[in-house]
Structure formats: C-alpha cells, structure tokens
C-alpha cells in the first residue's frame, strides 16, 4: 500500500452527539489500521476545542448535533489554518446546497460499514498528499465544486465539471452527467433549481429556462423560432444524440443573448 506506513495513519477525531454512535465508530475505527482515534466529542463546540488542541488529520463528523451542528463545525474549520480533512457521517441522504461547498472529503451514511469508512479514509489520505484545491485560509470559492447525490445505498460524488445540464423536477433537480467515456447518467437531488443556480459558477453555467440550467459549453447556437421565441441548440444535436433544442424562457432571454454578444 505505501512505503511509509507511519505517515499514512490518520489521527482522527470522532464527533457525534449520540454516545452509542460514538462508541460504534470507535469500534469500527479500531479495526482499521489506516487511522488512530485521538479523541471524541459530543457536540460542535467540543469538536472545535479538540481540533484546536489535538490538530487531528481527520474528523468523522456527525451532521445533526445540538447547538452547533456538523455543517457549522465544518464551516468554522474551513477558516482554520491547516484544517483537518472532514468526512461527514449522517443518517440523511439529502442536504442543503451549503453542504456541498464545505469541501468534505466524503459523505458516509449511518450505519457505515468498515469497508465504506476505509474507502473514505483512503480518499482523505490521498487528499492530504495534494495541495488544497480551494487555496489557503478561508478564500474558498463561492461556487460549488462537487455534488453528493444519493445513489443506491450510498452518496456519490459528482464533480460539477461533469454536469452538463440540470432540470427541475418538482421538489427535485435532475443532474445530467456525462462521464469521460461519453456515456450519460442522471441523478435526482432534493434541491431547488434557484438555490442551485446561486451556487454555480455563472462563467460555466447558465439558466435558460425556469426549469433548465445548461453548461455553457454545451450550447452551440441560438435559434429564433419566430414570434420572439428562442431556443438554444446543444452539442450532439447534429449527431442525433437525442439533445433536443431547449426553449429559452422569456425572463432568461436577455441574459442568454448577452452570452452570444447580442
């Protein structure tokens, strides 16, 4: 696995308000050689104190906690110099948009299996070897870099760069993802399209309709259908890949036209 096993053992802090949940995590962690538990906390405030005192490499962080919850802790930790890697541990499989830009290494669902936790730890190890993507000290990007979507019994990480299109579907949004091999998939996420739009880099994404956000590089042209109705033409349309032109909503028309320099 590695040449220097000592360096790869992550010093870990467990944070959960339920005593049994902490106990369970301790037992599972004891079976994993890649980390060592240096402390446990029962609420957000205690977690921040222990992070300061122990400077762990990794925090296994429960989302639902009294007073200061997991998201609050993560937000504070983002402003700390040399912050620990965060793995969220939760019984929920849907979050607010804010949860996406906390730069968590992983999201695991309760009750987590040792295998799944081990994978999360490996990601954390790998991440520590790299420079922090968001840059040092609090200057984290305003825009989301990744989504965590419920898929089967897990949460799956989707890089924002891989998302080509977002459709609103009632209380949900559907993320259309194109993987490297050119194949497509889609995932449902419990979010509002407006909330999502606010956290997406406008240089990369544009909302063209009340229920559609498109990645800008998917747009190949604008088409006037007459009577003031406009559509955007998409990549793959000529190739017959099923990419139908998308009608532009009236309120979004000016913005989309501006993109074309008109």
């Amino acid at each position: 696995m590695a040449t220097d096993p000592e360096a790869l053992v992550l010093r870990t802090l467990i944070v959960d308000d339920e005593p049994l949940a902490v106990e369970r995590m301790q037992i599972i962690c004891a079976g994993l050689p890649s980390l060592s538990v240096v402390g446990t906390a029962n609420d957000g405030a205690a977690a921040l104190r222990l992070v300061e005192a122990l400077a762990p490499d990794l925090v296994l962080l429960d989302m639902t906690m009294p007073e200061l919850d997991g998201l609050g802790v993560a937000r504070r930790l983002a402003n700390v110099a040399n912050p620990p890697a965060i793995v969220f541990v939760t019984a929920h499989d849907s979050f607010a948009v804010e949860a996406f830009d906390l730069d968590a290494v992983d999201y695991v669902l309760k009750p987590v299996t040792p295998d799944r936790l081990d994978r999360a730890i490996q990601r954390a190890s790998a991440r520590r070897g790299q420079a922090k993507p968001g840059g040092e000290g609090g200057e984290s990007s305003r825009w989301i870099a990744e989504f965590w979507v419920p898929h089967r019994s897990e949460l799956l990480r989707i890089a924002v760069d891989d998302v080509t299109r977002i459709d609103a579907e009632r209380d949900y949004v559907r993320l259309h993802v194109e993987n490297r091999s050119g194949g497509g998939r889609s995932y449902l996420l419990l979010q509002t399209i407006a909330g999502l739009e606010a956290r997406l880099d406008p240089a990369r994404f544009i909302r063209v309709h009340r229920s559609v956000i498109l990645r800008r590089d998917r747009i190949t042209g604008l088409r006037h259908d007459g009577l003031g109705v406009w559509s955007v033409e998409l990549v793959g349309e000529e190739a017959g890949a099923g990419a139908e032109p998308v009608r532009i909503g009236r309120t979004y028309l000016a913005k989309v036209k501006a993109m074309a320099g008109r």
Binding site: E18, A21, E23, I27, P66, D69, F95, P111, L190
Partner: protein, 438 residues
C-alpha cells in the same frame, strides 16, 4: 366500510333490474288496456263484457311479447345508442305483427257478431256462405244512401265498409273471401302499426331507464372511488414514519451489537419489532383505543431513548378512564417525533416530552409538549430540518400530517393548536370523545 356490500359487477355494468323491466312493461300494457276500455265505453261499443275479457287476453299476450323481447334488447346494453335504437326499431316490427295476429285470432268470432249486429241496426242482413263469402242483403235505400259505413271493430280499429254499388237499390251484395283476406291483412297491418308504436314507446322507456341506471352506477363508482382515495390518503399519511429515525435506530442497534451489549440489543430489536408491527398492522384508517396509541408512543420514545440516553426524558398523564377513548391510529406519532427532533436533538441538556389526555366538555383533549427551545427554532414552522435538509420530515410536515388526518376523519369537529408555551412547545388536539365499543 360499505364498499364491500356493493357487488363489484353491479357497479361495473349498469343493468336495468328485472323488477323494473316487468313493472314498466306491465304499466304500459295496463295503460293500454284502460285506455281502450274507456274508449269502448265512450264510443258505445256493444258486448263490452265479452270484449273486456278478450282485450285482457290480448293485453297479457302483448305484455308477454314485450318481456320476450327484453333479453334481445339487453344483449346490446353498453353498445352505442344508434345501434340500440336501430335494433329496437327492427326487433319491434315482427313483435308488433305477432301481437296484431294474436289480436285478430282472439277477436275473430266477436267480429262476426259485431258486424251482424251492426248490420241489423242498418237493416242489412249479413251472413256467410259455405265458401266463406260474406253475403249482405241490402234493402232498398232512399236517395243516394247509404254512404260508406264505418264499422268500429271490437279491437278498436275502424274499417270503412262501403257497400259495392251503393247506388244500386236493394238486392244481395256478395263480398268474396279473397277480398276479405285482403281486408284482414290490412286490418292486421293497421293494428300492428299501432302496437309497433306502443312497443317503441316501451323500448324508449327501457333505454331511458338503462341510462338512468348507468348514471346511478357512475355516481356509485365515483363515491366508491372517493372513499378509496380518502382511505389511501389516510394510509399514506399514517405511513409517513421518518426514515431517518429508522437509520439512526439501526446505527444505535449496530453499536449495541458491536459493543457486545447483546441484552440491550435484543431488547431494542424487540421494541422496534413491536413498534413497527403495531404501526403497520390493521386497517390504517381505523381508530384505536387511546391506551393502544399511548403504548405505541411509549415504544417509540423507548427506542429514541437509546439514542439519547441522558437527554430524553418522558412523562405521561393519561387518566385511566380515557383509556378506551377512540383516536385515529398513530395520530400522536408526528408530534412526538417532532419533539424529539426539535427539542431533544438540538439541546445538550435533558428535555422532557410529555403526553397528556383529558376530557373537556365531552371532547377528548390530547397534548404533546416538551420543555425544549420552543418557537426559537424556526425549523418547527418552516419544516426545514436541523442540518439544512429540505422539508424531508420537518415540523411543518408532521403537524400538517396531523391536521390533514384529523380533518379527513372528523372535519370541523377536530382542532389542532400548537405553539410556544414560554418554557417549551406544545401541540393540543381536540377531537370528539368516542369510547371504544360505544
């Protein structure tokens, strides 16, 4: 539920019931009988008594023919209207002819009697020879008399008998049998036409009854559908048990197993089993005794107490005499769940969840309260849960669930009030007090 008492096929195809078919046909023919009899008196036909008996026979025959046609018309039930009308027009034709023929047979001998009687009145002797020809002895007539003689037959049709060679004074008039046969057919056709319209009138009545019946069936179906929809709605409302509760509970259970606390794990498994079995069993729309509902909430709180051993305290104030009061099953669940979620979970200190019942002016008053942060947490009102997840199973949803279920069950008879109490949060439900088994 009276859904079961309605036979499904009765709701599926609307048939005019046999009773109604018989009554409608009988009424129609009774009308016919009455009208023709009355007309007989008005016109002053002879032999009223003898005629009445025969007319009754003909009427009954007509009734029988009508009933015999009914199965044919029934074959086309549910088909297009024009098809059914055409079928009636076609089928009624031979039926009318049949009735007319029966009519002619029944009145055959009476006819002769009546004709000779009329003849006497006019001073004409009418007889029949061996070949069946009718011989009429006509006396000398003054002037240009007689004109055509109108003969009203006993069955009600009129036949104009114009004596051949009316101007010829006196002598014997012979009407041969071929002319008679022709006259007879004309007569049957005339009668048949009358009966035809009578039968068509019944067919129209039958169609109308059929449509009324299908309209009623549609109404019944709609009623059944509404009830089913309401039942389904109640069911789905009842089953909105928080999935997060399940996963958190499984996590606790896993912890107990991993730490070797097998007895505690076993106890929890049993508690969860009983809780789910009770909450999923039985008719979801049915009421349960308050005792049963409280037992269920105790189980729920016991399960949650394993997650929050130091922080969750419970209190119950249920007078024993209210134990048999009826409440909709699981009605307290969303409220207790909310107290755990928005009072126990967000506070580090112990929080007490209290369930109380009392009687107030013949109404049952149920209260679920806690000494948590009260209204302070906006999540209660907006339904956003603590970690930012959207309206998954928030306070708003839970409270709405209770409101909807009570409204579906009791209408305006039940009320739900909830809000901050100064040192916590309380929800008060008022509903009609109905005891189990009355």
């Amino acid at each position: 539920m009276d859904l079961d008492t309605e036979r499904p096929e009765a709701a599926a195809t609307a048939r005019v019931p046999l009773r109604l078919v018989v009554i409608s046909a009988a009424a129609l023919w009774a009308c016919y009988y009455l009208l023709t009899t009355m007309r007989g008196y008005v016109v002053g036909l002879e032999f009223q008594d003898e005629l009445a008996g025969r007319r009754l026979l003909v009427t009954v025959a007509g009734f029988a023919v009508t009933l015999a046609i009914w199965p044919l018309l029934r074959q086309l039930e549910g088909r297009r209207l024009w098809l059914r009308i055409t079928a009636a027009l076609v089928v009624m034709l031979p039926a009318a002819l049949l009735i007319a023929t029966i009519n002619a047979l029944v009145f055959a001998d009476m006819e002769e009697k009546v004709v000779s009687k009329i003849g006497e009145k006019q001073g004409v002797r009418i007889r029949r020879d061996e070949a069946g020809n009718v011989l009429v002895d006509v006396p000398d007539l003054p002037g240009d008399m007689p004109g055509p003689v109108e003969v009203t037959k006993p069955n009600g049709t009129k036949v104009v008998v114009s004596p051949p060679g009316a101007r010829r004074p006196g002598g014997l008039v012979t009407i041969d049998s071929s002319v008679q046969a022709e006259a007879k057919w004309r007569q049957i056709t005339d009668i048949a036409l009358g009966r035809y319209f009578l039968l068509l009138a019944w067919a129209a009545l039958y169609l109308a009854l059929g449509y009324a019946e299908s309209a009623r069936a549609a109404e019944r179906r709609e009623g059944a559908y509404r009830r089913a929809a309401k039942a389904a709605e109640l069911r789905s409302l009842r089953y909105q048990v928080n999935p997060h509760f399940l996963f958190n509970t499984l996590n606790s259970l896993s912890a107990l197993v991993l730490t070797g606390k097998t007895q505690a794990a076993e106890t929890m498994i049993q508690t969860i089993s009983v809780f789910y079995r009770r909450s999923l069993a039985g008719d979801p729309t049915a009421d349960v005794p308050l005792d049963e509902e409280i037992r269920l909430q105790r189980l729920y709180l016991e399960i949650e107490a394993v997650r929050f051993p130091e922080r969750l305290k419970t209190a119950f104030a249920i007078p024993s005499e209210l134990g048999d009061a009826c409440v909709p099953g699981m009605i307290l669940q969303p409220l207790v769940e909310n107290s755990v979620k928005y009072a126990v979970a967000p506070l580090s200190r112990p929080v007490t969840v209290t369930i109380a019942a009392r009687e107030e002016h013949g109404r049952l008053v149920l209260t679920v309260s806690d000494d948590g942060p009260g209204r302070g947490s906006d999540a209660r009102m907006t339904g956003r849960d603590g970690n930012g997840g959207q309206a998954g199973n928030g306070w708003g949803i839970g409270l709405q669930n209770v409101r909807e279920r009570l409204a579906a069950r009791f209408g305006a008879e039940a009320s739900v009030v909830s809000g901050s109490t100064g040192d916590g949060y309380a929800t008060i439900i008022r509903l009609p007090l109905v005891r189990d088994g009355y």
